[in-house]
């Protein structure tokens, strides 16, 4: 089954990124994939809720692609959540529009994998840090897929990042083709 994928992309300084630039280029133009750059669409931060909701209705998969900023998403993603995921639309009474859709995050983290653990610099695993997003998906009746994480975005070589981006492309293509199982009940083991 084909699934249309909406990649909500957020990078406040896209031109100077290394990882996200490649990841984004890798999936752009894939059939069934819509790339939606939030900082480009809303340079003033004022998100058009109706337009976003209409876009969501036209896709079966929602991907948040962004760098890790302060152990979460860049600010505009939070603003997107606050304005688009309205009560009575995405959650609460009558809020069932996102039910059954899939949700995934594609995260780039500056540090290496071993900083994301107890005793490491970040002190928590990436999956732990992303719990609020996981819960957002559950609360809106969406199915949460394990995140696609790019570690060491600021220290990896260009070649490593290019190879990684091809992995991302393959993953998104498989999701769009409907090849991945509909749900991962839990994915903490996938890290």
């Amino acid at each position: 089954m084909q699934r249309r994928v909406l990649v909500v992309y957020a990078h406040p300084d896209h031109d100077r990124s290394r990882a996200n630039l490649r990841l984004r280029a890798a999936i752009e133009g894939l059939p069934g994939v819509t790339l939606h750059d939030l900082y480009a669409a809303y340079p003033d931060f004022f998100i058009d809720a109706r337009r976003e909701q209409a876009m969501l209705l036209e896709h079966e998969v929602l991907v948040f692609q962004h760098p890790m900023h302060w152990y979460g998403a860049p600010a505009i993603v939070k603003e997107w959540q606050d304005t688009v995921l309205e009560a009575g639309w995405a959650w609460g009474e009558g809020g069932d529009r996102l039910h059954g859709k899939q949700f995934m995050q594609a995260i780039s983290a500056g540090g290496p994998p071993d900083s994301y653990r107890r005793g490491g610099k970040a002190h928590f695993t990436v999956v732990e840090l992303l719990r609020p997003f996981e819960q957002m998906a559950h609360y809106c009746g969406m199915v949460c897929l394990p995140p696609f994480v790019t570690y060491g975005a600021s220290i990896a070589s260009n070649g490593e990042l290019d190879a990684h981006a091809q992995g991302y492309r393959a993953l998104v293509a498989r999701i769009a083709a409907g090849e991945l199982p509909a749900a991962f009940e839990t994915f903490s083991s996938s890290e």
Binding site: D44, F46, D48, A49, E86, A87, G88
Partner: protein
């Protein structure tokens, strides 16, 4: 017809002005000519409704006095000091050159030296009333040409004193110069007294009067002040207008300036109108009928001669724009009302014969009629052409930048400042030489040239630049530049400036992004108004942003109907309804988020 009395006269003057002025204004000839023609129509040579123009002329001269008081209020002493070169240099050269040229011509045509010289003294003067009123009406006073005109008029007012003294010396009746020295001393004493009183006494007195908080008393005092100064100056043998001007300058920095302006303004307008009517009435049509060639020839000859002398004077003193020099020359080309006085005195002192006085006076009056026509011609025909095909060759452009900005007014300047802040260079072209010179004084680099020309765009680097910002405010020129750039430089992205919604439609149709120039500031105002009404700043901004987005969508939706007014109206009404619904929804949504959503 004096038996009809004051009521009759007032009726005739007011009716004549009210009928004639709107017509002339509509015809684009200005109110001054309207009043002059109204005067001719009701005067002794027209409908004969008024028989004694001299008394009215004398009385209404206070209009000129009030005019100069108001002009003085606009000029503080520092500003006046800045004009000193123009006043004494240009003024002196103009008066001397005109006087000598007229005298030489008169002498060459067989007049006696005395007659030729007296005629020259009168002809050298211009009409402050006509020149300033015309400039003011056409908003040309602040231009360099207007300022130069004003400076020379000021000098002429000063020159009245020595000229009258000189007339006294050449008149056959008197020969001793001793009395004249006394008069000169009196005159200087009067000016010193005026300046002293103006600096030290006027403000306390004005404050005392203002503290009564009686508007009528302040108004009465304003008039009393101006008339009093005029009387003082007249008693000292000086020009009343000059005294009023000095008083105005002394009050230019005072806190009562605006109130004085507001109070005096209507009196000035009415009296000046009356003055022009009186001048119109004193045009001796009888003499004109009897010897039209002589009167008209003399009048037009003087006007032509004055223009021929004034133009090089302006050029000599650096009012180098051809348009400004020409405006200056045309504005001052008539002979002024001082000539009436001078020739009158010369006649009574037997310096001139009665017939000569009549002839000269008729020529003076006729010359006054030409100025409004010449200025209208200048504004309609000469100025646009000079601006378009200016004599200055386009500057050689030496830099090449990623951005070209066409038009460097307030709009273009802000664009370039933002870019410059980021170290992005922009090549700036403008077609107004004054603007170029101005921004250069402030350290910006701008090139003179007409961006509607392909060769200029090429020279500015349009073949290599990335973005062309069209910032000119003339819609036709903006469209021409946009079309030119799109057809010749495909790599160049054009950003247009739309003055109005219909302009914006055209750019939508062309697919060129355009900024609507007042749209953003109007939205800012709406947003601030919402905030003043107590809306949260964030909500107010949200509304403004929503409105902007929807309105921009509507612009694109409506653009195809831009020539079909009916459909456009229908679509706009629907669009307005949509917009209202959208804003209410947005407001409701925010409330709902507060009530039903996360707390």
């Amino acid at each position: 017809m004096a038996e009809h009395g004051f009521l009759h006269q007032a009726l005739v003057y007011l009716a004549a002005g009210v009928i004639a002025v709107p017509v002339f204004k509509r015809l684009g000839l200005g109110s001054v000519l309207g009043f002059l023609v109204a005067g001719v129509a009701i005067g002794p040579w027209g409908l004969r409704l008024i028989s004694e123009p001299e008394t009215v002329l004398h009385f209404s001269e206070f209009g000129v006095v009030l005019l100069l008081f108001l002009v003085g209020l606009e000029l503080n002493p520092q500003r006046l000091w800045q004009l000193r070169r123009a006043i004494f240099g240009m003024g002196g050269v103009q008066v001397a050159a005109t006087m000598l040229a007229v005298a030489a011509l008169g002498w060459a045509f067989g007049q006696s030296v005395t007659v030729a010289l007296v005629a020259g003294m009168g002809f050298a003067m211009s009409s402050t009333a006509i020149a300033l009123a015309t400039l003011e009406e056409k908003n040309l006073l602040p231009t360099p040409g207007g300022q130069a005109s004003f400076s020379v008029l000021l000098f002429q007012d000063l020159a009245v004193i020595p000229l009258m003294l000189a007339l006294g010396m050449i008149s056959p009746g008197k020969s001793g110069a001793g009395i004249d020295w006394l008069a000169a001393a009196e005159a200087i004493a009067a000016i010193v007294a005026l300046i002293f009183a103006g600096r030290n006494l006027l403000r306390p007195v004005l404050r005392y009067i203002a503290n009564t908080r009686l508007r009528e008393i302040f108004l009465g005092f304003s008039l009393l002040l101006v008339l009093g100064i005029a009387a003082l100056m007249q008693a000292a043998g000086l020009s009343m207008a000059l005294g009023a001007f000095l008083a105005g300058v002394l009050l230019a920095d005072s806190e009562y300036r605006h109130e004085l302006e507001l109070d005096i303004e209507p009196f000035k307008g009415l009296l000046l109108g009356l003055f022009f009517i009186a001048v119109g009435m004193s045009v001796d049509l009888g003499l004109l009928m009897r010897s039209p060639l002589l009167v008209l020839g003399l009048a037009l000859g003087v006007v032509a001669l004055k223009i021929a002398l004034l133009y090089p004077v302006a050029k000599l003193f650096g009012y180098c724009g051809r348009a400004d020099a020409l405006l200056f020359a045309l504005t001052l080309s008539q002979v002024g009302e001082f000539a009436f006085v001078l020739y009158g005195v010369a006649g009574s002192q037997q310096v001139l014969e009665r017939a000569t006085v009549d002839l000269l006076t008729a020529a003076v009056a006729a010359s006054m009629l030409t100025t409004p026509l010449l200025i209208a011609l200048y504004q309609r025909v000469i100025m646009p052409r000079l601006e378009r095909r200016s004599e200055r060759a386009p500057d050689a452009i030496e830099e090449h930048n990623p951005v070209i900005i066409a038009g460097f007014g307030r709009y273009g300047q802000i664009v370039s400042r933002v870019l410059r802040g980021l170290g992005i260079g922009s090549t700036v072209v403008d077609h107004d030489p004054n603007q170029i010179d101005m921004v250069r004084r402030f350290g910006s680099i701008a090139y003179y040239g007409d961006a509607t020309r392909l060769d200029l765009l090429e020279a500015a680097g349009a073949g290599k630049a990335k973005v062309l910002v069209v910032a000119v405010d003339d819609h036709e020129a903006a469209l021409a530049i946009t079309r030119l750039a799109r057809s010749h430089f495909p790599q160049l992205k054009v950003l247009a400036r739309a003055r109005s919604r219909s302009d914006a439609f055209e750019y939508v149709e062309m697919g060129v992004p355009a900024v609507r120039e007042t749209f953003g500031s109007a939205l800012d105002a709406a947003e601030l108004a919402l905030r003043m009404l107590g809306h949260h700043p964030h909500v107010a901004r949200r509304m403004a942003v929503q409105f902007r987005r929807r309105d921009e969508e509507l612009l694109v939706e409506h653009a195809p109907h831009r020539h079909d007014e009916k459909r456009l109206i229908a679509a706009s009404q629907q669009g307005r309804g949509d917009l209202e619904r959208l804003l209410r929804e947005e407001a409701g949504r925010l409330r709902k988020a507060g009530e039903g959503g996360w707390r």
